[in-house]
Every structure is written in C-alpha cells, then in structure tokens.
C-alpha cells in the first residue's frame, strides 16, 4: 500500500516537473519570433524622433534601451541621429493608433524600391527585417491614466517586439506580469522570464 502511494506521488511529481519545465522553457515562435532585425545584436541602433521629447517619453525610451541592453550580452543598442536608419525608430503622437491601443511596432524591409511593410505574422514565422518602427500613443495612454511605470512597461514591451519577442499571454502563456504581457501593467524593468527569452534569442 505504501509502495503504491509512493509510486503515485513520484509519478505526480514527475508529471508536474515536466509540465512546469515545458511552460517555463517555451521559446517557440509564439514568444520568440523566428524573424530578426538584420543588424547584428551588438551593432543595433535606435532613433528617437523629436516627438519623443515633445511628449515627454525620452527617459522611458532610454530605460527600455538600457534594460534590454543589460539583459543579454548579445544586445547592445546605441543612439543614432539618422532618421532613415536600418534600426529601431521611435515616434510619439496623440490618438493615432485607435481606441485602447497604447503603442505599436511595425516591421520593414529596405528593398530596391524603398521600405516595404512586413506582416508581423510573417516575422513570427521567420521573415527578417531592417527596421522596426515603434509608435507611442500619448493620447490613449493619458486617457488610461498611465503612470511612469506603466509607460516604462509599454515602451519596454514595444522594444521587446523590435528585438523579436512575442506576447507572453499567448498560449502556452506565462503567468504573472511581464514586460512582454499585453495591457496596462506597472513594471519598470523586464522580469527574469523576459530576460531569459531575450537571451534565448540573442545569447547570454
């Protein structure tokens, strides 16, 4: 009887261990895109449009850059003044993205005829890109009563997309709050789960 109980407990424990490690080790294209910005991780640049300073988001953008840069040895993002760069370009505006949308990231290919807008679903599945264009909606964030940690999280979230990370609420989801979870969340730095995914993408 005791032996049987021990076996049941052991099997339950192993099953729990397997399921837990599966959830925490999910680096599928849902959470880590197969497509990547073409610039090497240590040569990444970001361009801040003048609208970022106008709407007061400079420190939030800089926070996103420094937090992600320190999360992986394979990522180092430096500033550029080249508006047409193959880089992560950040802009802000008011009421530009539709009701309830705080920020967005578009992916672009720099081809013979100029910038070609790519489908995010194709980037998930392996299309590489030359430029990620982040847009921050100051009007929608104001209306939602955004605090500084909310803004840090949303802008960090978009930089995460630019670096090839997906949404953690998508199945198999990660519980708890993370930079890569959608929504109005108070979080000024990426979690260890966020960082693990970045390392999986770009190296330690």
């Amino acid at each position: 009887m005791r032996k049987k109980s021990f076996k049941v407990i052991l099997v339950s424990f192993l099953l729990l261990l397997i399921s837990t490690s599966y959830v925490f080790a999910d680096y599928s294209s849902v959470h880590v895109y197969l497509g990547t910005i073409r610039t090497s991780g240590n040569d990444l640049e970001y361009y801040k449009d003048s609208s970022i300073a106008s709407y007061g988001y400079t420190s939030h953008v800089d926070n996103a850059v420094s937090q992600w840069s320190s999360a992986s040895g394979g990522v180092d993002i430096t500033s550029t003044n080249d508006e047409d760069c193959e880089c992560i370009a950040v802009y802000a505006g008011r009421y530009i993205l539709g009701s309830g949308t705080y920020a967005s990231t578009g992916y672009y290919d720099n081809g013979f005829f100029g910038w070609n807008h790519l489908d995010a679903d194709d980037v998930h599945e392996g299309d590489n890109f030359d430029r990620a264009r982040i847009r921050i909606d100051d009007g929608n964030m104001d209306d939602a009563g955004f605090t500084a940690p909310n803004a840090n999280k949303t802008i960090g979230h978009e930089f995460g997309h630019a670096l090839g990370l997906g949404h953690f609420e998508d199945s198999p989801s990660h519980s708890g709050d993370h930079w890569m979870k959608s929504g109005q969340i108070s979080l000024s730095a990426p979690t260890s789960t966020d960082k693990d995914h970045l390392k999986n993408k770009w190296g330690n």
């Binding site: 009421y95 539709g98 009701s99 705080y102 920020a103 578009g106 910038w115 949303t154 998508d170």
Partner: protein, 203 residues
C-alpha cells in the same frame, strides 16, 4: 530600304507590345491589396464586465457596405482608420448621456487603413495585432468608445471590441482562436443570448 522600314516597324510594334504588357502587369499588381499586421500593446480585459465599464456603448449592430479610408501621412509615416456607418439593432448598455434609439445609424471608426505602397505596386491594408476588419452586411455585438482621433465612436481595444453573431466573419474566429478573446466572445454570446437570438440569422 523597304525591308529596313518593315524591320523598324516590327521592332516598334514589339516594343509597344512589351511596354503595354508591362503597364498592364503593373496596373494589375498595383490594384492588389496586401494585408500587414503590426504588433501592439493595448488595453486587456479579463472579463466582459470590466470591458463594459470601460466603454460608452454596447450594441447589437449591422454593418453596411460603404466605408471611408482615412489616411494621414504617406508610406512608412502613414497612420489612419476606417469610417463606416452601422445600424443599431439593440442598445445593450448606454453609459453616455445621449439617447440612442434602436435602428439609429451612427458612424464608427475601425483601427485599420489602406495605404499606397509608393513605387512598389499595390497597397497595404494595415491592421493592428489581433484585429480583423468588420465584414459587410454582418451583425455584431460591438463595444464602442468615443474616440478623439476619429471624432466618432470607435471599436474599443482591438479584437475585444467586436464579436460577430451571424457566422459571417470567419477571419475573426480564426484570429482569436485559443486566445483570451475567444473566451470573452463565449461570455458575450452567453450573456446576451436572448437579445442576440432575435437578430441573428446564421449565414
């Protein structure tokens, strides 16, 4: 001399044919609309009660065919939305001071737009994250909020703001499959089942 002239005419005709073929091909490709999606961070609702509290209007409505594409800026710098009229069949929640009568027609905006690709042939239909456009002549439960960006009511929080009730919007079901929006849709259909059944003609 005559032979040279004939040869010249043949070459000219051939060139003309090639140019016309290229122009025709460009026009064919230029009329093509490519769907592209942007990633986004947006308001997320765990249940329909919290969603209902965040909007101005919840209605059962029917779409028409006419829509207006509003685009600001060009190419990579473009942003925009789509305006269309909807006929309100039933007001489910009204958090505004306005009196909306059933069968009123109001203008709403959707978070997508169509922009020319510039030198590249074709146009891009730019959608946000999990949103799929409303289908023509279809019925939905809509969660609407007044939006300063379009000076009209708008579908709120992308896919969480509209739920097809007559089975005509296959793209919607595909896009929200296995997401929390699928669960929200189940809740909406359950909560408003009696009202929906009066207006739903399954397609």
């Amino acid at each position: 001399m005559l032979q040279t002239s004939k040869k010249g005419t043949a070459i000219s005709l051939l060139l003309l044919f090639i140019i016309m073929s290229l122009v025709t091909m460009y026009l064919i490709f230029d009329s093509k609309v490519y769907t592209v999606t942007n990633s986004a961070d947006y308001a997320v609702y765990d249940d329909i009660d919290s969603l209902s509290r965040s909007v101005d209007l919840v209605v059962i409505a029917e779409t028409g065919k006419d829509k207006v594409n509003k685009v600001f800026g060009e190419g990579i710098d473009a942003s925009g939305y789509t305006l269309r009229n909807i006929k309100i069949l039933k007001v489910l929640i009204n958090n505004t001071n306005d009196d909306f009568t059933n069968k009123d027609s109001i203008e709403i905006s959707e978070p997508y737009y169509i922009v020319d690709r510039g030198v590249l042939p074709g146009k891009d239909k730019v959608l946000m994250e999990n949103y799929t456009e409303l289908q023509d002549n279809s019925k939905y439960v809509m969660y609407l909020k007044w939006y300063k960006g379009s000076d009209s009511y708008a579908i709120h929080a992308l896919a969480q703001g509209k739920y097809n009730i007559d089975g005509s919007d296959i793209d919607e079901d595909k896009k929200i499959k296995n997401s929390h929006v699928e669960l929200l849709k189940e809740s909406v259909l359950k909560k408003y089942n009696s009202e929906i059944s009066k207006y739903r003609d399954i397609k």
